[in-house]
Symmetry: C2
Subunit: 355 residues, 2 copies
């Protein structure tokens, strides 16, 4: 077990977005915990504490601070499910080192989501996912459901890729890591639920436009890199640092963990700054639904941070040695460059899109 | 090497759709071969013959018998690419038994398609895919491009799943095989190009509706099962029958190859009959673009058969012992039941959709 003494603390966070939370967050959490128990999403008390300790209802109440309570509730269910799945089948558990078994499980699981009224397996995690799938069919539009399902498959594909790297002992370079991380953290299905939670379908011509695709991907990457920064400390404490922004930079650039974290935060700030500028450019011509979606992308970035600073998953003494120190808020990006990041695969966010 | 004597011949084919082919098929093929040579999609003369012998231009000229010549051309390029990729990286070649290496290759490849203006790798197959990606950005709408990219990822995911089954020596049951086969044959990206080839974007509310999703999936499955029936003979000749409709049924039901083929054809006919009925139900209220798309789904099912009966890939003496015998056309489905097939995951095509 590695001492936390070697783990750099987070610098102040650049995120000029006001915090927000759904006014019915508490009621949503209470009912979500009932749902977690009913499925159930765990096998024993330890797993139950772990799943409930993800604070997933609070998490999504921050992402979608407005919207019909029922819809936010259904999205929160998936977040609990996603964490339970992640712990049981992706990041740890017997499949975390077996890409073959992971794929053999994930393929039928994805189909079960797409056909949620059909009994495909006895697996309780699959049954819980189908429960969510049915609820989406009831409260969301077919377009929203399709978007969520596609994002869900992209996530499973990237998790398999991540497991393969882990098994091969392969530390991806920054371009590969970024391409993988755009999906492996589950950001895409999480953000695909924003439209469901707020009951506002974004027209396809807007959602699939290069600018909105870029904005969605940027929000995913900022939140996923933030997740890397938050979980790095926990992983150091646990003695297994996996592929994440800090280790990728340290490995390929020969930097110390401190340097890698500073440079990683600088890259993260540049993406967020680009996100905010492009969002301003897109907003004036956006439909009401798109404006709402873009607003929630900002809430997601901010909410992910507010959630991470308190959630037991990253902060409990037994999982991370000590709570995260509140790093405070920075006035501006730590790297003020407006040039594209030199990462093949995402440079087009700067080069090839306009509002 | 297995003798063809044990391989059942195909029964007459039920497919009440008129044959069609794009009037500029020959010119499209000539330019496509120039493109195949320019990339190039092969490493030696043997591979070149194999790629060009897929008759991919003819294939897609049958799928999209109308539409701007340039757009059909670009779609044909992807079909050549897909066959080259399939032979080099999926069905044979060193990755065909290594799901880990396949995923490590496929993840960056998918991102390269999504960001086709950025230089992600030196791999010539990736460069060729990016050439296609750029051409789609130029001749197709963002919605069409996004649909193609999502379908492309779903294909890669299912190919990885198929490789895993192969490596584990796992013969999937019919439900699992069907879920996998809906994507592993590349049917979804192939059909996602229909809109691009015909320059007609189907509105999202129609495309993502349960009925049109079901119609697309049914067309994919019929064509993929037909592909199974056509390639089964070739695989028997080559002495390696992989997971396909005939082997799955024979294995799990204890049937002979002859019985499995007859029952498989019966299932295939029931799906096609359901497709034709549902398409009639949907058509009256469909937009012009959707009507065109639905028409092309029928051309795809028919064109896939017409192509298969002549293409060297299945018919050359050196790959299959002898050309496929033209089975002739059946007047009606070999199994006239209009009940849902008892396959979890697709029963909703009958139960839960209406025009």
């Amino acid at each position: 077990m590695t001492s936390t003494a070697t783990t750099p603390e987070l610098p102040p966070v650049y995120c000029p977005v006001e915090p927000a939370v759904h006014p019915r967050a508490d009621a949503i959490e209470r009912r979500a915990v009932e749902w977690v128990d009913r499925m159930p999403l765990y096998r024993d008390d330890r797993e139950r504490r772990r799943v409930i300790g993800t604070n997933s209802a609070e998490f999504y109440a921050r992402f979608a601070p407005f919207g019909p309570e029922h819809n936010v509730q259904m999205a929160a269910h998936w977040v609990y499910w996603g964490f339970a799945f992640d712990d049981a089948r992706c990041d740890s558990g017997p499949l975390s080192a077996r890409p073959d078994l992971f794929l053999a499980m994930a393929g039928p699981l994805q189909r079960a989501l797409e056909a949620p009224y059909e009994n495909l397996t006895e697996d309780p995690l699959v049954a819980a996912l189908q429960d969510i799938g049915r609820s989406f069919h009831e409260c969301a539009t077919p377009v929203q459901v399709r978007r969520f399902c596609d994002a869900h498959r992209a996530w499973l594909f990237a998790v398999a890729w991540q497991i393969v790297n882990r098994v091969r002992g392969h530390m991806p370079d920054l371009a590969e890591y970024t391409a993988m991380r755009l999906h492996s953290a589950g950001g895409a299905p999480t953000l695909a639920m924003l439209e469901i939670a707020t009951a506002a379908e974004v027209p396809a011509r807007e959602m699939d436009s290069p600018a909105v695709r870029a904005l969605t991907e940027m929000a995913v990457l900022v939140a996923s890199w933030d997740n890397d920064l938050h979980s790095y400390r926990k992983e150091c404490w646990e003695g297994h640092t996996d592929q994440n922004l800090v280790t990728v930079l340290a490995h390929h650039e020969g930097w110390t963990a401190e340097e890698a974290m500073v440079r990683g935060v600088g890259m993260r700030d540049r993406v967020l700054a680009r996100f905010l500028r492009l969002r301003e450019d897109v907003r004036p011509k956006a439909s009401q639904e798109l404006r709402q979606y873009l607003q929630c992308l900002g809430h997601a970035i901010r909410g992910n941070i507010d959630w991470a600073l308190k959630v037991p998953r990253y902060n409990a003494v037994e999982v991370a040695g000590a709570p995260l120190q509140d790093p405070g808020w920075a006035d501006g990006p730590s790297d003020a460059s407006t040039d594209p990041l030199p990462i093949p695969g995402i440079a087009w966010w700067w080069d090839r899109v306009a509002g």
